[in-house]
Amino acid sequence: MPADPTAGQPAPHGAHAASLDPAAAGRAPRLLARAALRDVPWEVGVAKPDPAIVVDGVTRTFGGLTAVSVDHLEVQRGGITGLIGPNGAGKTTLFNLLTGFDQPNTGSWSFDGRPLGKLAPHQVARLGVVRTFQLTKALSRLTVLQNMLLGAQGQKGESFLRALVPGTWRAQERANTEKAMDLLTRFKLDRKKDDFAGTLSGGQRKLLEMARALMSDPKVVMLDEPMAGVNPALTQSLLGHVKDLREQGMTVVFVEHDMDVVRDISDWVVVMAAGKVIAEGPPESISQNQAVVDAYLGAHHDAPLTVEEEDRVLAEAEAAIAREENADGDVIGSDTRREEDR
């Protein structure tokens, strides 16, 4: 797949890629990220050539439950890193920790070499790490355009005293509005700009939230289940937008359950289960990884056994019991008893 990036593109991609020059700005960063990751071994906690985010020994417990326990994790700059795992694996908790919405019990992490450990959410965001939420947070009783303008950083008019003197922030507000309209056009929300965000559909809210995050010119975008509850047509469009982020040189980390989506857009996939990173590697390596298969299909967990496997396990157990009870080993007897049980 890395050899021919256009082959993997679904047809609807063309709809939004119009704003970009695919040849110049488009493909180069994508290839860079994939190429840089090509020689990285498929091991948990492996060092990346150019990490943007480095996580070290982060743990978070809720009472007796260890929600997150990550020894070491690096996220490649300029790439799309998919974070997958079964429900309750700690993906969202890790997101919350990385963006300052939650504080860990131990551990440290850094962004561009700057430790983020003790920062509040807004400080993390100001460094250029923005996130979206699993349950979309559109600001219902603000218009779509106001939602967008909120995302702009360093606004003079947001200080109490300067707000009273419109002259100090008018020009900046105009520039921000222009930028917001550009983004809204890209996300096909420009005609909705004066509608309350609360009137948008679920998928449009996802788009709005992503567009709003982009208003802050982020360096890292963290998307928590961007495709959840979105219809397939819109999923394609959202996928295209996520790819666009990478083309523009942003680092993307996203949580997703849909494996087709993950395979389609990720440069690197990190798999979490029970709070730990159990595997990482390029998307094609993941489906063959035994630890991942175990975590998802539950070889040792809660998935139902197949009939053949059940028979085998039962036979082994009974054989063991029989051996303990009787040195002769009445295996045949126990077999027939099982037949009767059925």
Binding site: P121, F160, L164
Partner: protein, 332 residues
């Protein structure tokens, strides 16, 4: 007929009087906190009491000039807002509500307690602190002036004039603020704090600013009230006033600049009109004495207000100025 016009004139005076100003300033403050920022301040009256007593104590107990008293009142309101906000604004909205309601009741009981009597004069209250203020009036305050069919004393007229000027300035301030990016942040906090945090805004600071601003506006309301009644008594500052201000805000329309002002005027107009109107009707025998006696009027007018508010919420939940589309978004 003439009596009805008299009743209207009396009601109009109430709608324009210092009590309406007092309620309007409380409601403007609540509008900043609740209407725009989504903070639940259930103890707005505490800020008003600090404003009123700031002048009363400074002038009549400490012998300080009137303007120092104003500064003391505002400063006290700022300190109270900070004290209430520092521990609670990082928590969920309910905690501020609990803290403010307790502070309002606690402060009133403190001010009327025996141990505070040397400073606050206890339940007898303070008076005789508005001479400096009345002396500022550009007209003869000893005379009475007939305006719109009712008599106004010169001092009353002066308090009312200054009061409405304060209301106008407050509205201008709020108007400037809410159309600025500051107002956008504050409204976003009302909608979803976490989303605003994720976009790099220090939510805590904005909430604190809104709480302090609303508290100071409440203190100004308390000052107008103290100057209007020329006295300060702890039991004037019952927390029921906070909820009356909430009712006025909802009547006028929350998160609208003029909502709280019009709501307060209307509230006092209706209360007074119901009062005088009902008394007139009873005196004239239109309403039989057996059905409703003149002594019941004071209670029944609030029943009427309650009924009116219920009808308002059913048929016009957005209040007088509100945007129905906006209010209906919440009903999903």
């Amino acid at each position: 007929m003439g009596e009805l016009i008299d009743a209207l004139a009396v009601a109009l005076k109430a709608g324009l009087g210092f009590q309406a100003i007092f309620l309007a300033l409380l409601a403007i403050g609540i509008n900043v906190q609740f209407g725009y920022t989504g903070l639940l301040n259930f103890g707005q009256i505490a800020f008003a009491m600090l404003g009123g007593y700031g002048i009363a104590i400074s002038v009549s107990k400490w012998g300080l000039p009137f303007w120092v008293g104003v500064a003391v009142g505002i400063l006290a309101a700022v300190v109270l807002a900070l004290l209430l906000g520092l521990p609670t604004l990082r928590l969920r909205a309910d905690y501020l509500a609990i803290a403010t309601i307790a502070a309002a009741e606690g402060l009133r009981l403190l001010f009327r307690s025996v141990s505070a009597t040397p400073v606050t004069n206890g339940t007898r209250g303070l008076s005789g602190f508005n001479a400096d203020f009345v002396a500022l009036a550009p007209w003869d305050t000893a005379r009475r002036y007939p305006i719109l069919g009712t008599q106004w004393s010169g001092a009353e007229l002066w308090v009312t004039t200054v009061g409405w000027l304060l209301v106008a300035l407050s509205c201008l301030l709020i108007w400037l603020l809410v159309r600025s990016p500051w107002g956008r942040v504050v409204k976003s906090i009302r909608e979803d704090e976490d989303a605003v945090r994720a976009l790099g805004k220090n939510v805590y600071v904005y909430k604190m600013q809104a709480l302090v601003l609303g508290g100071v506006l409440g203190a100004l309301g308390g000052m107008v009230y103290a100057l209007g009644t020329a006295s300060a008594n702890p039991d004037q500052y019952q927390n029921a006033n906070t909820f009356l201000a909430y009712a006025a805000l909802i009547l006028g329309g929350a998160a609208r600049v003029l909502g709280p002002v019009v709501g307060s005027m209307l509230m006092f107009f209706i209360i007074q009109f119901a009062d005088t109107g009902l008394r007139t009707l009873i005196d004239n025998g239109v309403i039989p004495e057996d059905l409703l006696s003149a002594t019941d009027v004071a209670q029944i007018r609030f029943v009427l207000i309650g009924l009116g508010l219920m009808l308002l919420l059913v048929f016009r939940p957005q209040g007088i100025f509100g945007d129905r589309r906006e209010v209906m978004l919440d009903a999903r």
